[in-house]
């Protein structure tokens, strides 16, 4: 899952899309719901699991073109929520604008994110 939102550059895209929907829909798509330190571990322990390991994986989301980035991002649940509320054209324009800080002169787009994993065992 995503690490804390401030450690993921794609959070900028998530926030831009989320701002297109009313606050009442915040819970419809919450990619960082378990991302706070200890949240996932607590949920797994509550599920009866014994934690056995954890780690982080830096991921570079690299797209050859802005169009590829927009296609990928618009396929996400956060984009669908926004499209339902303001329409695809507005979401597309918002995403293109939010991607600008991550675009290179060759037209590619790169966002650096960090993901976390937690391993556990079922003892009985």
């Amino acid at each position: 899952m995503f690490a804390e939102p401030q450690r993921c550059e794609s959070t900028a895209i998530h926030l831009a899309m989320a701002a297109l929907s009313p606050p009442a829909r915040d819970a419809d798509h919450a990619p960082y719901a378990l991302s706070a330190p200890g949240n996932l571990e607590a949920a797994m322990t509550a599920a009866g699991l014994e934690l056995s390991g954890a780690g982080e994986v830096p991921l570079s989301w690299h797209y050859a073109t802005v169009a590829d980035a927009v296609r990928g991002l618009l396929s996400s649940a956060g984009a669908t929520r926004a499209v339902e509320d303001v329409g695809e054209q507005a979401v597309r324009a918002t995403v293109e604008g939010a991607l600008a800080p991550f675009a290179a002169v060759d037209g590619s787009v790169t966002m650096r994110n960090v993901f976390r994993w937690v391993a556990a065992r079922r003892l009985r």
Partner: protein
């Protein structure tokens, strides 16, 4: 990948998802091909890290909860694992069925898995549990279907 080709494995359906799961189905189902081609591949290193942490290798009986288009299952298959997957979004599963015609694929709620207790050597949920209608119930179900003393 735009259409399901002949040869794709069957997708089975469990109990009807609840309202929260149906919402996730709708939100994740707008462009499965776009997700498969332009989003999911960026997480390949995460998939490999999780499969390694879970000890997935030859003969592992693996369940991927929230399997999406099957990218992680494909990597697990390449490691020699026997793979099964559950996702609430039929469009994503249709692509998984193309990629893994022999996989056991179920369409349904992550909070109600159609498997017996302890049926899998390893269960993974990669960027998935936080999107379940009830993440904590989904974790309880994942634990239930995991073989005791397995990851």
């Amino acid at each position: 990948m735009e259409n399901v080709k002949a040869g794709a494995g069957p997708i089975r359906y469990g109990n009807p998802p609840d309202a929260a799961a149906l919402l996730q189905r709708r939100l994740w189902g707008s462009d499965p091909v776009g997700w498969a081609l332009f989003a999911e591949p960026h997480n390949a290193l995460l998939f490999e890290a999780v499969l390694a942490a879970a000890g997935v290798g030859p003969g592992t009986n693996l369940l991927d909860v929230g399997c999406g288009t099957g990218a992680a299952m494909r990597l697990a298959h390449d490691r020699g694992a026997s793979v099964a997957g559950v996702d609430v979004t039929p469009g994503l599963l249709a692509i998984a069925a193309q990629r893994l015609p022999d996989a056991e694929l179920w369409c349904g709620d992550l909070s109600e898995l159609p498997f017996p207790d302890g049926g899998f050597d390893a269960v993974v949920g990669i960027n998935a549990f936080q999107f379940a209608g009830d993440p904590r119930a989904a974790l309880v179900e994942a634990a239930r279907v995991t073989k005791p003393a397995a990851s």
